[in-house]
Subunit: 209 residues, 4 copies
């Protein structure tokens, strides 16, 4: 009898179950990050976690559910970190800088998570639900960014440019960070973040005559 997750009103998950789920999610993240999404079979994930493949299905009724959980957990963790940073920025440029630096910092500290999420987002057909969710999330982030730019323009702090195109460029640069840090592990993360922040600051702010 599977735990029949999350649906039932009273159905809380036991401590041990929560622990196993966490363990499996971790193993899934690492497996996807290291071996690639397509090779992240239950067999491999289970081997890494030191459990039997059947146990994964026992805790996650479908593969989709596990993949979704990976997405959700990474996203929630990042949100928590970024939220702290975003508060109390004095200007739009400062807010952008806070976002960029926070994101890069998070990437540096959570490379496997970011790689795994990227794999899933770009990945196969059997993660359709998770991919759709990620795309919606991404679209939302883009919209937020663009809105921020627009406000900055209306208040005269930022120059005139296409908020959307700039948002795409910024997010793309952020999303490229995990791969870059993976490819060049010696990168000074804070420098890297500052460079990005400065570049985009110059790109968006009204040129001081």
């Amino acid at each position: 009898m599977q735990p029949e997750n999350e649906s039932a009103g009273q159905g809380r998950r036991s401590f041990i179950e929560e622990a196993r789920r966490g363990q499996i999610v971790r193993a899934a993240i690492e497996t996807i990050a290291e071996d690639g999404y397509a090779k992240a079979s239950f067999a491999r994930i289970a081997r890494r976690a030191g459990i039997s493949p059947g146990l994964i299905t026992y805790h996650f009724s479908r593969r989709e559910e596990l993949i979704m959980e990976v997405m959700l957990s990474v996203h929630a963790s990042m949100e928590r970190v970024l939220a702290r940073r975003a508060e109390g920025a004095a200007s739009y440029a400062a807010a952008l800088r806070a976002l960029v630096e926070g994101f890069v910092r998070y990437c540096a500290d959570h490379v496997p998570e970011m790689v795994a999420v990227a794999q899933i987002a770009a990945g196969a057909g059997d993660a359709a639900k998770a991919r759709a969710w990620a795309e919606r999330q991404r679209e939302e982030t883009l919209a937020d960014l663009a809105e921020m730019f627009q406000e900055g323009q209306q208040e005269g702090e930022l120059r005139e440019f296409s908020p959307r195109a700039m948002a795409v460029a910024v997010l793309a640069a952020l999303e490229a960070t995990p791969a870059e840090l993976l490819a060049r592990p010696d990168t000074d993360v804070d420098d890297y973040a500052a460079e990005l922040a400065t570049a985009f600051e110059l790109a968006v702010r009204r040129p001081t005559r």
Copy 2:
């Protein structure tokens, strides 16, 4: 009985073989772009090409070889286009603009190719060789870009910044283009390209005065 590809010294490919290979590569690109890498089985590719699955293996001894060929052909095609644009740029800023606009233009005109390549790059384990090659290629592109920036800095046209970080940001923005054009088909491509070019121009050039 197979054509024994590429290895043999004298082994030129016949005209008809070259044609078949091209047909298969095209079908592969379209299938990967439309159905996703994971669903792009030989059966599907062959159906699209109107041939039997066995014939693919006849022309490409391993799956890896076909995927590799997809990469190579797209890359070659893009190089050809970009090379024309890059020549005769009067300044580093102009060269950057030419690159950005050329790349975006190419993306707009070759969506399936770009989507397929992105799928492969992010994709499965049986594309390891192709992925490695793409990564090497990408590294090379980054190095070229960074070198260009460095020269611009030495000549005083560009401000001081990390050439590497800027190169990553620029390339990331470019690589995000196909997805963006796919997600927002109404985007004015030339505007979009100009916006990116301007943004990065502001980011790199020595601030006037």
Copy 3:
């Protein structure tokens, strides 16, 4: 630590155990009848009974044992009912009528039981023992019926015919009843029973001149 069923000489079953077994058997009957034998997993049966799957194995050491118990309990219940009807029939024709009407009546009142038993009888390999038992039971019923016919023939009440073939036909008609009542719920059960009884009465009795 299991109850070590039925084997031990002294091993009586406690009251509570008997109750659990009954509850599980009922849940099994309903699950098999509604979801089909193949889908009647321990998980489903346990969910219906509001217990854990492990508890089923605790009370029935093998799946086979549970299935067997289903058979036995249904059979015993039917026997009890039929026995009452059979007594005191004045003629062989009357006895046949009593049997037919009793059986049909029982079917109408115990659809799930009959459906479940039919599912098992026609069903899977892991019910082999139960199926064998049912077949033996069936054979016995056929023998009883045939013997009754033979006696009726010897006493001159019934015409000459193959007792065995007639027994098969009668039993087949009876066994078809649950499905028929399920397919046509509006059937008037008593009419239906009377029709069958009359048909077979005409088939067996010595034609009145």
Copy 4:
């Protein structure tokens, strides 16, 4: 690339493919008849046919398709045989006798087919489509039988009785035949058929005063 069965307009099946399909259907019938539906896995069917399990999926795109083909082929074969017998019956009683004897004869000659079909009809959930089809077929047969009885009643040849109930009884007796012949292989088939025919003749015809 699977043969993509039956749908395409021009898509004829090759000779060799037709042969394989037939071989697989035969193996499926025998496996179901001997081991039971639930144990008739592709692995077992393939072993019997001396082929690999994958080949079954190659020729039948889903399991359901194979099961359906079993049903259809048995049904078609029986129809062919029965059709010859049914023609030219001088009375309703004679038509009934022809049907009964034809059916029994067919059963005797095709025990595995009949057992397999019975297994599927009574069987698991993953044969839903085939079971539904069989049930529709059965219902049709019942309707035909009942209609025949009704006509016979209207013409005065048959006594008054419920055509439906009688149809059910007759069909049930027929369907019980394979099991009976299997249980008692020494049965004289023609005698058995004649007994059934006579029994139902007496049951339906207007008693000769």
